[in-house]
Each structure stands twice: as structure tokens, then as C-alpha cells.
């Protein structure tokens, strides 16, 4: 990088305004389908909306986690992508809005709010100190507040750094990230338990928070990879981003794919081996009827295929291949949540096997719509790269 022309590391270029518009259109279609769903079968529509809610929560919270991780370990490789991650963390503003229809509908969604069912089962009754409406509201609102505060503390400070170019900002952010990490760990566990595990109030698995966390980071990484490569290909990011930078994203995606499989299998093996009815019921629900095929498919969709697709070195850095894999991994995350959530619905209605209809079709539309809207709106008047970061230049020179 010796001559003057090369020194322009990044030129600001606004994302076309059609992105949020397309997002809005998708949201409108998805919202219409969801509204139709609510009018026909409000429980089914609520369960679908939990998939949307938990997916968006994964992306937003996972993005904040990746930002904090970079500060804590003082990483170089992720600096060129950090602004995109911060923009993705903006999904956290939408997440509470998605939760509103759910919170209104709480009585219908959670069987542990039905006093008859609670009194009929001593296991569920014993959980009432934790599983009750007021405590549920308090802790979830607290988590939303923590999310927003740390969004402003971590991402907000980074936006300011673009102007101030204050190199010390990184150090303060690292300290804030260290405070954020334990809060993150507790929050994501609580959210996973509250919104996913408590759908079957009798069941419990101590590793469930980790299971959701592994999936969350995968979801964030896949969206990040897709957005970064799309933006780079269309010239919105620095031209110095190359395959060596992508390799880290692919590598991390590969690592978390294995981590997810490890956690998912650990959870299954212990429950399967101990063979205690209180624990196996969750897997029995997913091993009956049409759900059995879905469970087997999940192994391949979430682990087998991404593993084979990412195992070789070129596949971790080739932009085109990475883009396809990231779409796959993201859809696999949605499928994973569908597999976690919907059997509880079919069990309640007594339906044989999985259901898929217009209501469920709204799920990907709403998710993609929100993501496009957030990326479009949050990136307005912002640099798409962290130009004020002291590591910005050196991180662009990153080589394997």
C-alpha cells in the first residue's frame, strides 16, 4: 500500500433505499399471513411468531455477543466486519416489538399459565416460583432493557468512534464487554428456557441454554457472512477485504456447526441413556409420527450438510460458496427452532406430525423482512466499516 491511490481504504457509499422498501414489502406480506393466522388459529400463529421472535433474538443478541467477543479477545480479523455486526445488533430494537403480540397472548401460549394443568401435575406445580406470569414479565423486560443498554454502550460507542477516532475507546469497550459477557450468558439461558423450554413445562434440560446459544451464534454468523459478501461484491465495503478475511467467518461457522452438534448430541445422549420418563418426553414428542423424519432431517440439515460443505479449506474462503452455505445455515437455524417449537403445538392439538401452511410461511418472510429493514435503516448516515478503529488499517492487511 505504497502509492497514494491505494491509501483510500474505504469510501462511504449508502445502501440503496430499495433494500428497506423490499424489507417493508416482505414484512407486509408476512404480517398479512400472520394476521390471517391469528384470525384462524391464534395458538398456531403465536407459536409461529415465537419462531420469528427467537430467530431475530438470536441474530441481534448473537451480533452483540460477537462485538463483545472481539473487544474482549482484542481480535484483528473481525474489525472490518464489526460495523455490519453492530448494524445487525440493531435488530434488538425490533425484538421487543415482535414480543408484544406474544406477551398479550401469553395465557394461550404457555400451558403453565393454566391453573388446572398446573395443579394436575406436581412437577409443574413445583416450578411455579419460577414459572409465573409476573416473574416472567419482570425478567424478560429486564433482559430487553439490558440488551438495549449494551447496544448503546458497545455499538453506540463504536459509531461515535468513526468521528472522534479515539483509540482509547477500544479499551473501555473491552471492559464493558467483560461486564456484558456474564449478563449475556444468563440472559440467553433465561430466554431459551422461558420461550422454548417452558413450552413443555414438565421438561427440563440444563444444557438447553447452550444449545440455543450455539444455534444463535451460527445464525448471526450466517447473516453476517451473507451481508458482508453481498456488500463487498457490490462495492460497498473496502476493496481490501479478501478471501483471507472470509476464511475466518467460514472457519467460525464450521466450528459452531460442530459445537452445535456436540451440544445437541450431548443433550440427547444423556436423556436417551438415562431413559427417565420426565426427561424423555420431549424427545418422544419429536420421535412420534411425522416428527421422526424431521428429527432425522435436522441432523443432516443442521450438521451433516454444513459440515461437509465447510470442511475443506477453499469452501471456507470462496465467496460464492460461502454465500450459499450461509443461506443454508440460516434456514437451518429457523428449521431448528421450528423443530423445537412446533411439536408442542401439534401435541396440544393432537395433530399427527408436522404442520406447515400459510401461517408458517409468514415466518421466513417476517424474519427476512425485519433483517432487510433493519440493515437498510440502521446503515443510514453511517460508515459501513469501522473507520475510526485504531486496528482498522492493520486488520485490512490481514493474511492467513
Amino acid at each position: 500500500m505504497s502509492n497514494a491511490q491505494d491509501l483510500i481504504l474505504y469510501e462511504k457509499k449508502a445502501i440503496p433505499s430499495k433494500i428497506p422498501l423490499i424489507g417493508l414489502a416482505l414484512l407486509a406480506i408476512g404480517g398479512g399471513l400472520a394476521g390471517y393466522g391469528f384470525s384462524t388459529d391464534s395458538i398456531r400463529a403465536s407459536y409461529s411468531l415465537i419462531i420469528v421472535f427467537m430467530t431475530l433474538f438470536s441474530v441481534g443478541f448473537g451480533a452483540l455477543f460477537l462485538v463483545a467477543l472481539e473487544y474482549i479477545v482484542n481480535a484483528d480479523w473481525s474489525v472490518p466486519f464489526r460495523r455490519i455486526t453492530e448494524i445487525l445488533a440493531g435488530v434488538l430494537f425490533i425484538v421487543p416489538l415482535v414480543a408484544i403480540p406474544l406477551l398479550i397472548n401469553l395465557d394461550e401460549i404457555f400451558t403453565w399459565l393454566n391453573p388446572e394443568l398446573v395443579n394436575a401435575d406436581k412437577y409443574v406445580k413445583g416450578k411455579t416460583p419460577y414459572l409465573n406470569e409476573s416473574f416472567f414479565m419482570i425478567r424478560n423486560i429486564a433482559i430487553f432493557v439490558i440488551m438495549i443498554i449494551f447496544y448503546f454502550l458497545l455499538a453506540g460507542r463504536s459509531f461515535k468512534q468513526d468521528v472522534t477516532k479515539n483509540p482509547k475507546s477500544r479499551k473501555t469497550s473491552a471492559k464493558l464487554s467483560a461486564i456484558f459477557m456474564p449478563l449475556f450468558a444468563i440472559s440467553i439461558t433465561v430466554v431459551a428456557m422461558d420461550w422454548l423450554m417452558s413450552l413443555e413445562p414438565k421438561w427440563f434440560s440444563t444444557i438447553f441454554g447452550v444449545y440455543y446459544f450455539a444455534g444463535s451464534v451460527l445464525a448471526t454468523l450466517s447473516v453476517l457472512t451473507f451481508v458482508v459478501i453481498s456488500l463487498k461484491d457490490n462495492g460497498y465495503l473496502s476493496k481490501y477485504i479478501n478471501e483471507d478475511h472470509y476464511y475466518n467467518l467460514g472457519g467460525l461457522m464450521f466450528a459452531f456447526t460442530n459445537f452445535w452438534a456436540y451440544i445437541a448430541f450431548s443433550q440427547f445422549l444423556l436423556i436417551w441413556y438415562a431413559n427417565i420418563p420426565d426427561e424423555t418426553l420431549w424427545y418422544v414428542d419429536r420421535g412420534d409420527g411425522g416428527w421422526f423424519i424431521m428429527s432425522i432431517a435436522l441432523i443432516f440439515i443442521r450438521f451433516g450438510i454444513p459440515y461437509l460443505a465447510l470442511v475443506t479449506r477453499p469452501s471456507k474462503s470462496n465467496p460464492f460458496r460461502l454465500k450459499i452455505i450461509s443461506v443454508w445455515v440460516f434456514l437451518a437455524h429457523i428449521f431448528d427452532l421450528y423443530w423445537v417449537i412446533m411439536p408442542e403445538y401439534t401435541k396440544r392439538t393432537g395433530a399427527e406430525g408436522p404442520v406447515f401452511g400459510l401461517t408458517e410461511l409468514s415466518v421466513p418472510l417476517l424474519i427476512v423482512g425485519v433483517l432487510m429493514l433493519v440493515i437498510g435503516l440502521m446503515s443510514k448516515n453511517k460508515n459501513l466499516m469501522t473507520v475510526g478503529d485504531p486496528k482498522f488499517k492493520s486488520s485490512l492487511e490481514f493474511h492467513l
Binding site: D244, F265, F268, L269, Y273, N275, R313, F398, H399, L400
Partner: protein, 380 residues
Amino acid sequence: MENNKILHSMSAIFTSPDDIMKAAKEIVKAGYTKFDIHTPYPVHGMDGAMKLKRSPLGYFAFALGAVGAMLALLLMWSTMVESYPNNIGGKPLFPLPAFIPVTFEVTVLLASVATVVSMIVIFFRFPNNSHPLHDTPYMKKVSSDKYGAVIESDDPNFDFDNVKEFFTGLGAETVEPIYFDNDELNVKHNIFEPKFITGLTIIAITVSALTYFTLNKLIFMEPFNWMMTQQKLSAQSPSNFFKDGFSMREPVSGTVAKNNMPYLYSDSVDLAEQVMVNPLDVDDKNLNVGKVKYNTYCSPCHDYNGNGQARLNGQFPNPPSLHTDKVRNWKDGRIFHIITVGQNTMPAYAQQLSDEERWQIITYIRALQRAMNATEEDMK
């Protein structure tokens, strides 16, 4: 002197990572294929600059990993299904989920061992353990603070003077030829010599024999067997002390073990029905214990309410209902007798249930019978 030696390569020392990066690119550009770069630490981007091909090591690891996975599954299949087919916790004989951790471990083990072994044997040409670059000033420099490049003499484009000039043109600090060490070239690796192999075999046999002797003979000899032989008589062993030659003695005739009254009516069910009366009161405690014991031991066949349509339905002949008039008119003593000695396919439960527990179960069965045939008076 030097003319006698065989040329290995031409080496060049550079002073900065940027220089070596540039040199690597230039060497590739000049069309050399047999060259190498040595740096004191990993220089990022060097793989790309050298245009290195993908290492084939991964294929060895994959192949042996796959073999490992299959070996592990084969081992578990042959032991758990073929040789020792035991029912463990009601699981299938070949429970795949339980075998996955073992399969994973063996796969990783064989893949990593394969990587190391194939590296040593194929890439380092075992038993060769020397390289002309070893022990040269060049290697000393590049392993402390310099960056070095070598072009080997068997490169098709290699020409002594051209390469020397080429390196000098790249700005190398020093350019020196490197020769094979004659001593090292002529060294004979003794590893395949008959003497060595024989020695190794003898050691192996000796160690095996000693291990066998220690584990199978030595520990059973005095004084290594410690307290294995003692003065006392051990169970099941013969003895000369007693007349009958047994070391185990029978109890004095007529002895009764505590809480273990012998059952006197095992031959006659009618006598049992006439003589025995339920000694227990019908109270909460007896009914509760009776319920627990009934649910544990009786309900698998007789079902929780005694109608005989239970969980084991189909695997055994169904027992008749306990609510027939016949059973209801039986006296308690008859039921006690049946529980104690069994009837038809029903085995004896004397080992599982104490006398008191049997009476408690009978109390509970009576309660069940009354509940199933309640009269209007009972409703009041």
C-alpha cells in the same frame, strides 16, 4: 575439496519479512518449482505467495479416520452383539447413540496417529533423519532472526550461476551453496539390520514372558501371594477337620432364621385356607403398604385394578380377573398360599414379599374387590 561434494541447493538470506515475501513471489514467477522458504515465525500470506499446493496429509487423516470409525463400530458390534449379547437397561444390543462417543474417540485417535506416522514415513522418508540444511549457518540464521530461501539443485531450471545472480538481484544479504554432507549421505540406517531386528524381537519376547510369568505365576507363589492361604476354612472348600469332609456347616436342626418363619402348608391349599387368618387390621398404613407392594409386584400382570388386562398383556398368558365371584369368595388364607407358593404360571413371591407384606397385599386386594363390586350401601 568442495568439488567432491554433491550440491543440494543454493541458499539466500534476507533481512525483512517484506523482502522474503517479495522473494517468494519472484521465485514463483521465475518458474522454479523445487524451492523452500524458512522463516523464524509463521509469516502471514506466505502460502499464497509461494503458491503452495494443498497438502495431501488431509487425505491420509481422512482415510485413517474413516478406518478408525469402522474399526470402533466393528469392535463394539463384535463384543456387544456377537460375543456378549447382554440386555443393558432395555437398550437394543447395538445402541448407536451410546456408541457414538467411542466411535468419535477412535476416529480422532487413528486420524491423528495416521497424520503423524504418514508425515514421518512418507514425507520425511523414515528412517532418514537428516537433511542437508541441518547444522548449516543458514539454518542457524533462519531459526533466529533472518529469513531464508533455497532453490534445490534438482529443479529443472537450476543453474548454479543463474540462481546465484537471481538471489543477489533480489537483494539477498548472503548467497551460499549448500552441499550434502558426505558422512550423512553414506550413513547406513541400522534400523533394518538383522542384528537390530533380532535384538528387538528378543526384548519383546523376554518382556512378554516376564509379564506373563509375573501376572500368572509369581503372584500365586509364597510370599508374593500375601494372605491368599490362611488357616481358616473357606466356604465351598473341602476340609479334613469334620467327618463329612465339608468346611461349611449346617445349622442345628429346628433353627429358624429371624423374621423367616417356614411356611407349613405348602402341600395343601385347602388346609392353608382353613387355618390361616389375616392377622392385620384394615387401616391406612396396611392399605398403603399393600397398594405400593401390589403396584410393584402384582400390577404388571394383574393390572392396577386387578382385572388382568395389564402392561404385560400378550407376553404372558393373561391371569384371570381378581373380581370373579370365585376369587372374592376365597378366604384370605388361600390367596396367601397362592402368593407364597405360586399357581399355574404365577411364580412364588415368598422371596420378594415378607409375611406381613403378603397380608397387606391381601388387605388391599380385598379393598379393590369391594371397590369394583360396590353395593349401594357402600355409597353411603
